[in-house]
Point group: C2
């Protein structure tokens, strides 16, 4: 197999994000300046970067938290519904943050303009349609100590 | 976000394969004509195809088995070690095949020249270096009813 063989294979974009809880079982949500909805810490998996490393990097960049590790909760395959190509979304569990750790959260005020810990129910009313479906499945996976693979939220 | 934004995002190639067992707990391995080592049924995930759908399609194409579903066992992120770009490998469990189902296995004799059910230990001596590491982890995941995410076999 030549390098050209591999270079020409079909490829998919992917994203990686993290779920954080506080000690009251509330979930961290963040408000990107460029989106109408709240979201979770995370972003695009770049070249030569694993989904987990992308999650750890994005969490550091977006909220200033140093994750040593993160455990996978779910993989959601998203079909090409909006003409943007299909993709894979990886959601990891960042952990339960202590009060001290929460005080160390720092957002840049440009890409992210706000963050909150809210009850899951409230989070669901603020998140994007995709995350509204994905997050409850992730929390269920977390409770069951499982990893869930699904497609288009189902 | 414009279509161009999504079009220009980094992307990774990915593969999907299936583990099959027989009723004696032996594992199915296949011999591609173009490889020195034995392998497992599977192949490249194409455009607008989910990893699971790729697994089901490749299994049908390569060994003639109609899978209705497949459950994810492992995701292995492979770094760009050989200059071929990084990739993700998805391994699913195809199931325990009955004697009747095994009789229906058909290979094309061109891409795949042979197939066998062998004890796991024997399989490991015949498979590629990557599969030698990946398969035992998949079988452990299967035993534990789990899904395992790892990177470069670790």
């Amino acid at each position: 197999m030549t390098n050209d063989y591999y270079k020409n294979l079909p490829k998919k974009r992917m994203g990686a994000g993290a779920i954080f809880l506080n000690e009251k079982d509330e979930i961290l949500i963040v408000k990107p300046s460029y989106k109408d909805f709240w979201s979770m810490a995370g972003g695009v998996v770049v070249e030569n970067e694993s989904p987990k490393d992308a999650c750890i990097r994005e969490v550091k960049e977006e909220i200033g938290i140093n994750l040593k590790d993160a455990s996978l909760l779910c993989i959601d395959y998203c079909s090409n519904k909006e003409g943007n190509g299909d993709s894979l979304q990886f959601i990891f569990f960042g952990g339960v943050l202590t009060e001290k750790e929460i005080k160390e959260i720092k957002i840049d005020g440009k890409e992210l303009v706000d963050y909150r810990f809210v009850k899951v129910e409230e989070a669901l009313s603020l998140l994007s349609e995709k995350l509204k479906v994905r997050i409850p499945r992730c929390l269920e996976a977390l409770k069951n100590n499982a990893v869930v693979y699904f497609e288009n939220g189902k």
